[in-house]
Every structure is written in C-alpha cells, then in structure tokens.
Amino acid sequence: MEPMGTLRPNLLSPRDLPWRIVWDRDRCTLCGRCTAACPTRSIELGVHRKRSLEVKAGLAVKPSNVYAVYHGIDQVAHASRVCVGCGLCSQVCPNAAIFPVRSEEIDKVRFHVSEGGEPRRRGGRRNDPNSLLDRIKFIRISMLTDPALDAGRHEFELRTLLGRIPPPEDMLEEASRPDGWVPPVREVYPLMVGGMSFGALSPTMWEGLQMGVAYLNEELGMPVRICTGEGGCPPRLLRSRFLKYVILQIASGYFGWDEILHALPDMKEDPCAIEIKYGQGAKPGDGGLLMWYKVNSLIGAIRGVPVGVSLPSPPTHQTKYSIEESVAKMIQSMYMAWGFRVPVYPKISGTTTALAVLNNIARNPYAAALAIDGEDGGTGAAYNVSMNHMGHPIASNVRDAYLNLVRIGKQNEIPIVAAGGVGKNGNLAANAAALIMLGASAVQVGKYIMQACGGCVGSETDRCNICNIGLCPKGITSQDPRIYRRLDPEDVAQRLVDVFVSFDVELKKIMAPLGRSTSLPIGMSDALGIDDEGAAKRLGIQYVV
C-alpha cells in the first residue's frame, strides 16, 4: 500500500499534460455524452466531496463541518490516456460545458512516452507549422505587359502530362518501326489525391474519396486521379471503369497485389498509372505500421492476409540491391503486367540522393515520372522521431530535380510529381502553384484532403494525431465500424468535389495575373519570390522584400 501523495517520475498533474479539459460545473447536465465519445478515455465521471464549515454568527453554537458529494467530469492524468485535444467532447456536449485547451507551456508527457522502452508512435505529420511554400509569393503580376488573363472568363488548360515524353524525333522513329513503342502518357489534372491505403483509411473514407474522384471525372470533366496507397485495391474497383482514375501503388509490403493480378483478366480499363513506392516523406526509411487491431476481415480480404496480424511493411523492397536494379527491375515488371500500356513511375521520399535517382530515371526510357514526397507529408502511423526529425523539404528537391532536367534538356520529357505538406496551413492552391512553378508537373496531396473531406482535426502542433491506434474521432482512419460509420462516404465525396472545384478557381486566380499563357506554368520560376535571401538563392527565385 502506497502512502498518500506518493510521487513517481511518471505521475503527472493535469497541468503537465498537452491539453487540459475545461469543464463547467454549472453548465454540465451530466448527460454522459462526452465520456461516451472521448476516443482516448481521457475523461471520466469523478466523485467529489465538498467540505464546508458551518459557523453560526456569534459563536454560540459549536462550529461544525458539512460534507456534500457532487459528481463531475474529471480529466485522467495518466500518460496512457492523455487528452489529445480532438475536441469531440465539446462537439457532443449539448451545453457547451466542456472543451480542451492547450497547456501554456511544453507538456511533460513527452518525457514519459518512452515507458517500457518503446518510443512514441503516432499518426499525423511533422510537428512544425512553418511552411516555406507558404512564404513563396507570386510576384509577376501581369496587368498590361502580357495579355491580361481573366481567371473567371478565360479558359485555362489545367492539365498536365503523366508519362514519359520522348523527343519528337525519337518518338517518330519509334512509331515508324514495326516493333516500336511509344510510352503511354496520361493527360490528367495537376492536383492528385496522394496514396493513402485502404487500412490506413477507413472503408467509408476510402470509398468517399474514390466516389468523389469518379464524380469529378464523370460529372465535371476534371481528370482527377487518386493513388491507392499500399494496401491493395477492392476487387470491385479493379473490375470497374473507375479504375482508369486510379493510380495503383506497389510498395515494399506488396499487400493486395495478388488480388490485383487475379483481377487482370476482368479489368475493363487500365489503371491510370502504377506508382512504385520506395519511400514516404513523413517517415523516410520506414515502412507501413498497420497494427493487428486494424486488420479485420475486410482489410484481410483486400490485402490478401489473415485477420488479426500486424502488417509492418519493410523499409525497403527486399529483393533489390542497387539503384539500377531497383528502378529497372520494378519498372519493367510493372509495365509488363499491363502490356506496356500503363505508365510506371517511382516515388521516393525527399532526400539529398534524389538527383541520383533522377539521373538513373533519365537514362531509363521506361520511367514515366519521378514522384518526390517531402518531409511535411503525413502518415497514418510512424515513429515520432521519424516524423519530426527525418526527411527533406520538398521545395529544393523539386527545384534541383527540375533544373537538372533543364541542364540535360529533358525538362519536357520526365514529369516530376511533388508532394509533402502541400496545403499544410490551408493554402492548397498557392502551395501547389509554387511547386509547379518550381518545376513540378503535378502535385499530390493527402493530409489536406483528410482535413477537408473527412474533418480531420490533426495539426502540426500535435493535436489529435492518433490515426495509428484506430480511434480517429471522425472515423477517417479507423477500421472499427462503431467509429468509421460516423463518416458518410457521400459527404466525403461531396467535400472532395468542393475542394477540387474551389482549388480550380484558386489556381486560375494565381495563373491569370501571371499572364503569358493559359497552360500550367511548370517551371515558371521567374514569377516566384520569397522574403528570405538564402531560400531565394537556393531555389533560384527572386528575393523580394
């Protein structure tokens, strides 16, 4: 039996937690909704004894104590049940009696998450709200010097090419040979939904995104593409015409690929492309970490695995021992699967070695593109240290890659797809335009989509971020029907449509004043400026103050 008030290093007071629950006794009706809803069981009903002294004036009567008992909502201070600030309690409270507030100083939980020797793992993104992309401005405002374009009235070619585009003379020569081959190229919308696996995302979220993409294509004529992420693809989607809007991802875990191969004879359409994932910006050098409790019969069926087993993906593809082999072998295999009709491109995490990969890709005539995912990307599960401290910013990676292509005269041959932190502070179109003008042909976005389409409340200051444990308060990253059924696929789809239509307007609002052209301004870096001299020099854009 421990004495009262015992201290142990990991015993914290509520003030030491990242979030404090503010509860208003007067407003609370004790309806139980907050404690029923709290994903992390960070609040519970507490019993309190209130003592008051009863003293009669004049002191003629001996003073006495009066005790009263009341019930209230208490915050649990234990590190394993710490409040993550999601705010679901206040969302379900009928009386605005409860809400989380961030603690004013750095929390102390972070010093105790190593209990048992297991480092902290979480979902989300790098905990850094700063964004270089946000600081890039579009400084070339063409009022009179070029044809003034009108975002509302001019028609813009918001299309990009995904696929290898050989020089015309090579293409003509190939086309004229009886056994010649011209690489497949897709004309697609420059903003794509990046790879988020079925498993990382809930069934409702995944279906909603796919439905929204189908709507954009079929009802609005916007050729938006979505990447499956590594977790396979539902058999029905593989056998539907919607497959042409889908980029199938293959990664080091190869989950679900036998099911994809089984579906080959039944496919009505080729997929848009195949993305070979070598790395992920949010957690470079680390693979997927889908834990057993998220692997139910549905995930098992799609991934082609037994139920209730953890599905870590290895950090690298296991049978490749050199860059040449990695790239060439994988690209060849994937091309062959669809008779060389589908573009195949690798995706790497942002890295100082990106140029070496690009160099290799430039010499491989099959490589359709290079996708680079920067450090600000998101993930459903990773080690905190990988997320917070590893990775390479996307801007200089894209810029270096593009300028390198310019140097060898291949900037129109190999599209660069950029990702990682696009729209991290809500500036989706501005960030995407900046990357395009730094040299990206297309931009992939994931987190922003989760926030905009699913209502994710995660942030770069460590709010929520519990995607990895299947308790997502909004049902975005859970495999538990009790949670994911909170999310209606139709709502997700509608929000995705809204996002792309509004993005379309914003991108035009950026492009129109630049003048010159109604085509996507890939590499139009003379229109970019930044108020940081070092960044300007590094990116080869203008330093403006």
């Binding site: 139980g32 029923a36 019993v47 058999p235 549905l298 059924r485 696929p489 139709e490």
Partner: protein, 790 residues
C-alpha cells in the same frame, strides 16, 4: 481657348447644322481636335452635326453641354472605336456605316444607331440609352451593363446575332437579338459562352442558341406585357434602322422568341449538378454493384451512425462485476477472512450471519481478530490508503465469541494426524473437521492452545474468551496426549497410521545469549509461562534483552508482577509494534537501542560501551527455535526450520508442516496456513488437485471514499457504524448510486432467488458513458470494450 479656332473647317448647314470634316489639309484630324470641334459646335448651339469620320475615337460621345437641347450627330465614313462613348441623354448618334469596337461604351443615355455591323464590345458598361445595330456584333457585347434604378434600363437592339461571350457580367438592361441574316454559327446566335457572370437584366433573342451559362442565367417564358414591350420596341428599332419591312417577319411568330434572365443569387447556389446521393445510386453503385466499393466482401452495414450510440454500437459496455475482485482487507488477511462481506451482512441487519461467517475461516475469531492480531486487514484498508481511519475489524472479531458452530460435511472416515495443538495445528484440525474428516491432534501439554494459552498474558487475551473458543475446537476433534518425549520412531508411527500428517510443533526452544553471565538470565518464554500462572516473582529493575513484541509482553507482565522499572534493550531498532508496544510504553517501559550486551553481572547488564543498566532480573527475548529432534532425514530442513513449498508440503510425501516450525510469524499466518493445508489435503483425499488461484485484488483507485464523511470515523465503536463506514470494496453495497447516476436510465436492479440481487444495464438504453463505473462507491462496475463487429 484655341488660338486657331477660326481655322476650324466648320461648314454651317441649314438650322444650325455643322459639318465637321475628319480630314483637312494637314491630313487626318487628330481625335482630340475633332472632339474639340464637335464640343465647340454644340456649345455654339448647333443641334445637328455631321461628321466625316476617319477612324477618330469616341465620336458623338460626351455631349453634355447642350443647354437642354437635343443634338443629332450623323457619322459618315469610318468612325473609330467607342462611338457615342459616355453618351448623354440629349444625344442621338447615327452611324451611316459599320462601327468599330465599344460602340456606346459607358453610355449614360444616348441613342446610338449603327447602319451595319459593329465589332467587339458593343454597349460595354452601358447604363442608360439605346443602341440599335442593323447587323451583327462582335464579341463581348452587352457586357458589364448596368441598370440604375433612377433611370430606365439601357437597351441594345441587334438585328443579326452576337459574337462570343455576349452579356458577360451583365448586371442590368435589356438586349434584343433578332437573328436576321446573322453570320453567327448555326446554334450560336448569341455566340459561345454567353451570360457568364450575368447577374441582372434580360435578353430576348430569336434563333437557335445551344448554350448559355447555366450557372448564371436561365430561360423563362415571355409574358404578355413583355411581348407588348418587345413589339413596340421592335417597331421603334426597325424604324430607326429603316427596315420597317421586317416587322411582320419578326413579330408574326411569338414562339420564335426566347427570353433569358439572370439567375437570382439564391438560385445560383443550387446549380444544377447531380446530387452526390443520386450519383452514388445511379452511377457509383450501378457500376460497382449493390453496397458499393466493398459490398461484395463486407456485409457490415456502413450507413451513418452517430457518435453516441447504444446496444452493439456502443464502444464500451458496463459490467456489474460484483465479488469478482478481492477487497484489500481480505487480500491482506493471512487467514483470508472476507471482512467486507461480514460488514455487508451487518449492514443488511444479518449480524448473526456476519458473526458466524468467521468460523468458516478460523476457529479463533474472537481471540485473534478481536484481541491478538495486529489486524493486517486494517493496515490494508482502502480508507487508510486515502488518509482515513480504517474500519475497526476487532469490533467484529470480539463479537464473534457468540458465533454458532458450522455444520460439518458428512464424515469421510479419513484420519489426519496433527502434531502440535497450537493455533496452527488447531486451524488445520478445525478446517478438516468442517470438511468431514477426522483430525487427531497430538500434543504434550495438558491442554491444547499452545502459546495463546500458555504464554500470552491475560492482559492481552481475556481468559474466558480464549477458553470459550478453545472449548469450541476441543469438542470436535480427537486428541492424543503424548506422554513420552517425542521421537523419530513415534513420528514414523503416526505418519504410517494416518492418511496425512501435519507437523505444527511450533518453536519452543528459546534462543540464548552467548555472553558472560548468561546463566543469570531467564528466557522470555519461561518467564511468560510462569508469569501467566502467577509463578514468577518480580521486583526491582527488570531488563529485557530483545525489544520485540514478546519483549513487550514480558515488560507488561513484569510491571504487573511488581517490577519498579523495565528497560528493553536491542542491538537495532526494536521490531515491536502495535498493541504490545503501546501497552509496555504506557506502563513506563524504556527502550534503549542500539546497544550491544557485553556481559551480565549481578548488578545488571553491562553494555559494550562499559555502562551498566542496573537489573534485578534479566529476561532474554531474542526468539525461539523449533525442536525438530524427532524429524527423520526424509524431511528437509533449512536454517533450523522445516522446508515446505507454497502448499506447505514437506519433502516427505503426505507430510505437511505449518506454523512457527516453518517460519516465525503471526498467529493469523499460522491459521491461514492451516486453511491452505486442510484444503490441499481435502482435495487430495477426493482425488482432486486443489487450486489456489486467488481472485485479483480490487483496484483501490476505483473505490470512491468521497461518499463518506471523514470526521464521522474517529469514534466508530459499534458494529453498525463500522459497517456503515466500510467502503465495501469489490462488493456491491446495493446503494443504488448507479441507477441514479445513469444518464439514460439504463441501469436497473433485479431481485434474484435466495435474497440475492443484481444490477444490469439495458443495452437498448446504455450509451457506454461509464458514469456507473465512475460513480460506484465500491468499484463494481467495469467498462469493457464492446465485442468487435468485424
């Protein structure tokens, strides 16, 4: 103001008509100069001006200084851009030729007639006035037009068709497009993408138009009033352009006309896109199959649910876990008495049952719980952990003197030998008797009871209490008095003649000091034994070497028998505690430590520092060891004690050992060991394997002591108040708190047979909030995750 004003080539005509030549000897007249000349003519009162134009800008516009007279400007030749721009209501401009861009730009009232085509931007930003075009117009006609409520709306009349982007951002006014001899592409009488951003005004047109901006404009029916307006307007228009002969063609078929108006802001929000719900049903599910994306591999309903749900959709389910965890008091009691259960019975008014219950666990509830035990249950009491006075178990213990005998199981005829009739041996005997077996106790002393009877002073255990409890045991068991010294042979005989044998011989050989003068001392055991029979004479100063609880008993007895002072010395911090220590201290006993005894003289105890504590009597109280001379080699010992496993089995089959001959401990330890041995023997006799899986201890954090008044506990001296303050850890006290606190009234109480009850949560109402678990005073309700759905 102009020095060369006289040089103006103004040719006066009739009725103040001037003819202004757009070209003179110096060539083309600059737009600025031509404008000056027209304005000057107006200022001079000319009301009819003819202009021979050579591409000059803005002819006929801005004639605001007419003094109220109407001015007619006839333009011949080739006017430049913006004919009639910023026109005034006092002006009519008639162009006898095609016109260039922006005819009537920012027109604020002029009537402008063009006998031919006009290029781009006709009527751009027009706010008032009328523009008549006797041909086609170019792109972006009628764009940005306004209707100022102070004036009539502006009008644009076009005989042919329009170019692209017609009526873009049109905010008011009326356009009429007649579709006569238009060169517009078939199906595009209004060109491509008309009405984008249109927010006001209306467009009448005749002819085929495949597209308008559906987001901004909408086709409506032409009312009779509008038709009348259109007919009279057409008549005026045709007259102005001199094509009255077309009136019949344009008006004979009202159905040939269409009317487009701007959508109101409220209408724009509901643009005609297929709703997502319909898309899902008609496109998505139709292509994929019923149930959508995963309808083939998942049968789980995926329709929307709320955050707060009941039944199988709750995330957590409350379980009423009554008596599934052990209270701290019971867990701490070596005898294993369920103290909380006894208090519960008292609360229910079943005092007799509460009292009787003890005999199922111990033959000496009054003696031990009531007097001799340090009450580990109270040490462990949840209340103590939270700074409150524990419930006083000894009250309940003392009340147990009245306990009624339990009924034993039917006789089994199996004999178990128990060597030693102290608390350990009698505990085994008592338990075996209850289980229907025949325990045989072998003891050397005249009466059973061991040290409780012989050694422990009456000041700590009243004679009548123990006698009564001892009698209760003695009545039930066979007893064999051992006359001879106990030998190995005798032991072997006993073992062979019984199914099982339990060694409970205790520790009766006092440890001695190996210092000079040790012969002058008396062992505590001998002292207490003699003192209890009042056979010990004591006077003067008594020194007790060894200040444990036995030493304290010696001190208490020494005072009783006449000692003037008692000093207890120890080489370390005295191990004594509790009632024994308190009693000795209350009588004035001094504790001296740490000291080492050097030797003992007639004067007293000489310490290693040379000082002497005067003593008339020195009692050595440094423990006792068991006498194990009878033990055969087949039974292992360790440091002078018998070695046993966790069930007190020795290394010899069918032979157990418990009590002080195994390890020195409390009486309750010995009694508890007896229970375990009896259970093990009983199981073996029945051919079973006894299990000793103890229930988990209750999580003290779940016990809510906030319900109790801390002050009321200082003087709880009767059974009722003790029972009321017991927190009943892990045992439902049937208070109804859960029923009351449940926000959805899901919890209810149900009577079961035999006076039992249970509480249960209705899945149809329960939202899994955990309030029951949070509020339960006893920690009964436990929230568990609901069973997985997939």
């Amino acid at each position: 103001m102009w020095s060369d004003r006289d040089a103006f080539p103004v040719t006066p005509g009739g009725d103040c008509t001037v003819f202004i030549q757009g070209r003179d000897a110096n060539g083309r007249v600059d737009s600025r100069i031509l404008e000056e000349r027209i304005q000057e003519a107006v200022r001079q009162g000319c009301t009819k001006i003819e202009v021979q134009a050579y591409g000059q800008h803005g002819i006929g516009g801005r004639l605001w200084f007419t003094g109220g007279s109407h001015v007619k400007v006839d333009v011949f030749g080739h006017p430049g851009q913006r004919v009639g721009a910023m026109g005034s209501p006092f002006t009519t401009v008639e162009v006898h030729a095609p016109a260039s861009d922006d005819v009537g730009w920012l027109n604020a009232g002029a009537t402008i007639i063009v006998h031919g085509d006009a290029t781009n931007g006709v009527a751009n930003a027009m706010a008032q006035g009328r523009i008549y075009i006797a041909g086609d117009i170019g792109a972006r006609g009628m764009t940005m037009t306004k209707h100022n409520p102070r004036f009539d709306p502006p009008e644009l009349w076009v005989l042919g068709g329009t170019g692209d982007s017609f009526a873009e951002f049109m905010a008011g006014g009326i356009a009429v497009v007649c579709g006569i001899d238009s060169r517009s592409k078939e199906g595009y009488i209004l060109g491509h993408r008309p009405c984008v951003g249109m927010v006001g005004g209306k467009i009448f047109f005749r002819g085929h138009q495949k597209e308008i901006s559906d987001a901004d404009a909408v086709f409506v029916r032409i009312t009779d009033e509008e038709w009348d307006w259109l007919r009279s307007g057409l008549s005026r228009f045709l007259k102005a352009i001199g094509k009255e002969y077309l009136e019949e063609e344009l008006t004979h078929d009202r159905s040939a006309w269409e009317l487009v108006v701007a959508r109101r802001p409220s209408e724009k929000r509901t643009r005609d896109r297929i709703p997502m719900g319909r898309f899902r049903k008609e496109v998505w599910d139709r292509e994929l199959g019923p149930g959508g994306l995963i309808g083939d591999i998942s049968k789980v309903d995926s329709s929307r649910i709320g955050v707060i749900e009941t039944g199988e959709l709750r995330r957590f389910v409350p379980h009423w876990e009554n008596e599934s965890a052990m209270s701290p008091c019971q867990a701490a009691c070596p005898t294993g008495i369920p103290v909380q259960k006894r208090w519960s019975l008292v609360r229910m008014g079943e005092i007799e049952k509460a009292v009787d219950l003890a005999l199922a666990y111990t033959p000496f509830p009054a003696t031990v719980c009531g007097y001799l035990c340090p009450n580990l249950c109270m040490e462990a009491c949840t209340r103590r952990a939270k700074g409150m006075t524990p419930v006083d178990t000894s009250v309940l213990g003392r009340a147990s003197i009245e306990a009624k005998d339990p009924s034993p199981s039917p006789p089994s005829g199996r004999k178990v030998a128990i060597i030693g009739g102290g608390p350990a041996g009698l505990s085994v005997a008592w338990q075996l008797w209850m289980k229907g077996h025949d325990p045989v106790v072998f003891d050397r002393d005249a009466r059973l009871g061991g040290k409780i009877r012989d050694v422990i002073p009456f000041s700590r255990i009243p004679k009548e209490v123990f006698d009564r409890e001892l009698r209760r045991v003695e009545e039930k068991i066979t007893r064999v008095r051992l006359e001879d010294p106990f030998s190995e042979q005798l032991f072997e005989d006993i073992v062979n003649r019984h199914d099982f044998t339990v060694i409970a011989v205790g520790a009766n050989d006092p440890r001695t000091l190996s210092v000079k003068g040790a012969r002058r001392t008396i062992a505590a055991l001998d002292f207490l034994r003699a003192a209890k029979r009042n056979k010990m004479k004591v006077k003067g100063n008594v020194v007790v070497i060894g200040a444990g609880n036995v030493g304290c008993d010696v001190a208490t007895e020494a005072y009783r028998l006449g000692a003037s002072s008692v000093t207890l010395v120890d080489i370390q911090k005295p191990a004594s505690f509790g009632k024994e220590r308190e009693a000795a201290e209350a009588l004035g006993a001094k504790f001296v430590w740490p000291v080492r005894t050097e030797r003992i003289t007639d004067d007293g105890v000489v310490l290693s520092d040379g000082s002497t504590i005067p003593a008339d009597m020195v009692v050595v109280s440094i423990g006792d060891t068991p006498n194990l001379e009878f033990l055969p080699d087949t039974i292992d010992t360790e440091s002078g004690m018998i070695r046993v496993d966790e069930r007190y089995r020795t290394s010899r089959d069918r032979v157990y050992a418990i009590g002080d001959c195994v390890r020195q401990g409390l009486i309750t330890d010995a009694i508890g060991a007896g229970r375990i041995v009896a259970s093990d023997i009983d199981a073996r006799l029945k051919g079973e394997d006894a299990t000793f899986d103890r229930m988990p201890s209750v999580d003290v954090a779940r016990i809510r002591l906030e319900y109790y008044e801390p002050q009321a506990l200082t003087e709880h001296d009767d059974l009722a108040s003790c029972a009321q303050t017991c927190a009943s850890c892990g045992l439902c006290r049937d208070c109804g708190m859960c029923e009351a606190v449940c926000p959805t009234q899901a919890i209810s109480r149900r009577e079961l047979q035999g006076g039992l009850f249970e509480y249960a949560a209705d899945p149809g109402k329960c939202i899994g909030c955990g309030f029951c678990a949070g509020a339960c005073p006893c920690g009964i309700w436990e929230m568990r995750e609901n069973d997985p759905l997939v």
